[in-house]
């Protein structure tokens, strides 16, 4: 149908026009489309794309919000990587934290969603709620500060002491040996969010007849079913879930601060997010903070690209 109306509307055929003429004409014919996306894209550009561009620009200056910036080229990067010991610690912590919470949250979401999918519908809805609730409940993660409280009234200390397993309470959230494992556990606890819901939905839309066909073809158990049918079928959801999980794993700064305060004891849970906040939010060293933001930005994009490559291998 469209073929006919198109030729009727357009007296000149595409062949007679250069590429630019054609594009311009198409743009004119679809003014309404551009008007409809303009409000979104103007705001999106100003507050999501522009900051990335600005960060890259600021990162080669000594901008501090007050004086006119001077271009210092790579001084900020040199200072960041060679002179800033705390930043090195932050990179290490961020990598440890993100490589555990990112894949951890992803696998947890996927496996739990798979298991939940085996349940009858009513129970499935309830279990979805139970697993999803911590991620939407604001700062409910602060309950872990009661659980790991450093005195005998803390739930874990008190219980262990009552059982005679402990004589003096352990300062869980002040001792660098315990802090990292605890913040990782709490972060995982709050991490079954968007990607988890995506998987719950993904499992439900897999074409049922595929399983029957596969059973005939000799798929024996649920593991084979998962690997050969379900996962390849829901690869789009898995990719989206991965993006969500990775992005999220770089955004747990507030959870860490809520649990162990800022700065954390011996900077043992100091991440790049904290470093960025420190220089940007408190010291207003925009140039230096932008440098940190640029590094963080490329870490996020890089890990996303890497994971996309890995996920391309599922079911093959």
């Amino acid at each position: 149908m469209s073929q006919k109306t198109e030729t009727a509307n357009r007296p000149v055929s595409r062949k007679d026009m250069t590429k630019w003429q054609w594009t311009l004409k198409e743009m004119k014919n679809n003014k309404a489309g551009y008007f409809m996306l303009a409000p979104f894209y103007i705001i999106f550009f100003v507050f999501t794309i522009l900051p990335v561009i600005l960060s890259i620009f600021f990162s080669i200056t000594d901008f501090n919000m007050l004086e006119t910036p001077n271009i210092v080229w790579f001084d900020n990067y040199i200072r960041l990587f060679l002179d800033d010991d705390i930043f090195m610690l932050a990179i290490k912590n961020t990598l440890v934290f993100a490589t555990i919470t990112g894949p951890g949250s992803y696998l947890l979401s996927l496996i739990m969603a798979w298991f939940i999918n085996e349940l009858p519908p009513k129970i499935r809805a309830l279990m979805t709620l139970i697993f999803y609730a911590p991620s939407i409940s604001g700062n409910v993660y602060l309950v872990w500060t009661y659980i790991f409280s450093a005195d005998a009234h803390g739930f874990i200390n008190g219980t262990l002491m009552d059982l005679g397993l402990l004589t003096t309470p352990i300062a869980f959230l002040k001792d660098p040996d315990y802090i990292m494992p605890i913040v990782i556990i709490v972060a995982l606890w709050t991490s079954l969010g968007t990607s988890f819901l995506t998987f719950i939905a993904g499992f439900q839309v897999v074409d049922r007849s595929l399983y029957e066909a596969a059973a005939v073809d000799g798929v024996k158990n649920r593991w084979q079913e998962l690997w050969y049918i379900t996962l390849p079928y829901m690869r789009p959801q898995m990719l989206f879930g991965a993006v969500m999980a990775i992005t999220q794993s770089f955004g747990f700064g507030a959870v860490i601060t809520g649990l162990v305060g800022y700065p954390s004891p011996d900077y043992c849970a100091h991440t790049i997010m904290h470093h960025l906040d420190d220089y940007g939010g408190s010291r207003f060293e925009m140039g230096y903070a932008s440098t940190i933001a640029v590094v963080l930005f490329f870490m996020m994009i890089g890990s996303n690209m890497l994971v996309r490559k890995i996920l391309g291998k599922v079911g093959k």
Partner: protein, 290 residues
């Protein structure tokens, strides 16, 4: 519209008994890990002071009381800025931001999903890539942009960025791709309806699950928002921020702290309970292509 398949029986042919037991055991353990801290928060909020400081600490409450909630409300009434102001701030920002996001995202998503014009694939790809970085990267530089636009320390500093989230456009576009049939739109266009009318009267009613999802996602973010680096006047700060300030005012306020957490978490959880099936339906279309 995409209909969810409901599995009638969980006893499919290739399910081993051992596997069933294992799966249920894992679900039970993980479910307890997820649920018990939530339950503990609620129980803490109901404990009278002597039980909060009891040794050894108990998980369950013996004499439940609403005393902590009363303390919280008393503390609220002594605050410097009237507490209703904080509640108004959060409500105002949440409602306007959510409304703006649903409107702008779905309008843009409609034109990308259902119209053909140069540049639309590029514009959509930019949004897909922007899903890959967390907003912490942009927060600091946005402070500069906001101060240039004179938005710092106004409601708009929180409302305007919330109006155009990459997540909003992405979910809307993916859902419209699969659940709005182009033929229906074509016939409306042939009848002479303008694009904006086709969008509003035909496409929008068809994507109710998507905008409900967007409302939930956007609302929960704005509702949970605490302090913001863009706002320093007390009278523009959020409910969550104010409640945090009260309860961090000393160790004796642990009960009131738990009470405030319970109040804060109840709202998004209830919203999710009533919209769950719509959200799952939307998320089923959220997949990303290689």
């Amino acid at each position: 519209m995409a209909k969810l398949r409901i599995r009638k029986s969980n006893h499919a042919m290739n399910r081993s008994l051992g596997g069933d037991i294992g799966i249920n055991a894992v679900l039970l353990i993980m479910g307890a890990f997820m649920f018990l801290p939530m339950l503990y928060t609620i129980l803490q909020s109901l404990k009278p002071l002597d039980e909060l400081w009891m040794y050894p600490p108990r998980f369950f409450v013996r004499n439940p009381t609403l005393g902590n909630f009363k303390t919280l409300f008393n503390l609220m009434s002594t605050s410097w800025v009237p507490f209703s102001r904080y509640i108004f701030n959060t409500a105002f920002v949440s409602v306007l931001g959510t409304f703006g996001n649903v409107m702008l995202s779905s309008m843009a998503a409609y034109s990308i999903a259902k119209m053909k014009f140069p540049g639309k694939n590029f514009l959509f790809q930019v949004v897909v890539y922007s899903l890959m970085f967390h907003s912490t990267v942009t927060a600091i530089t946005n402070f500069y942009t906001m101060s240039m636009l004179r938005l710092v320390d106004t409601y708009w500093a929180r409302i305007i960025p919330a109006c155009a989230t990459s997540m909003g456009l992405y979910l809307m576009k993916q859902f419209m791709d699969t659940s709005v049939p182009t033929t229906v739109l074509e016939s409306a266009r042939l009848d002479g309806a303008s694009e904006i009318r086709v969008f509003w009267q035909i496409a929008m009613p068809m994507v109710k699950p998507a905008w409900l999802t967007l409302i939930v996602f956007c609302f929960k973010d704005l509702w949970n928002a605490g302090s913001s680096i863009y706002i320093y006047s007390e009278q523009f700060k959020s409910f969550n921020y104010a409640i945090q300030q009260i309860v961090t005012g000393g160790i004796s306020r642990q009960g009131a702290g738990a009470a405030s957490t319970v109040i804060m978490m109840m709202v998004p959880i209830l919203v999710f309970v009533f919209t769950q099936s719509n959200i799952i339906e939307t998320m089923s279309t959220s997949g990303m292509k290689d």
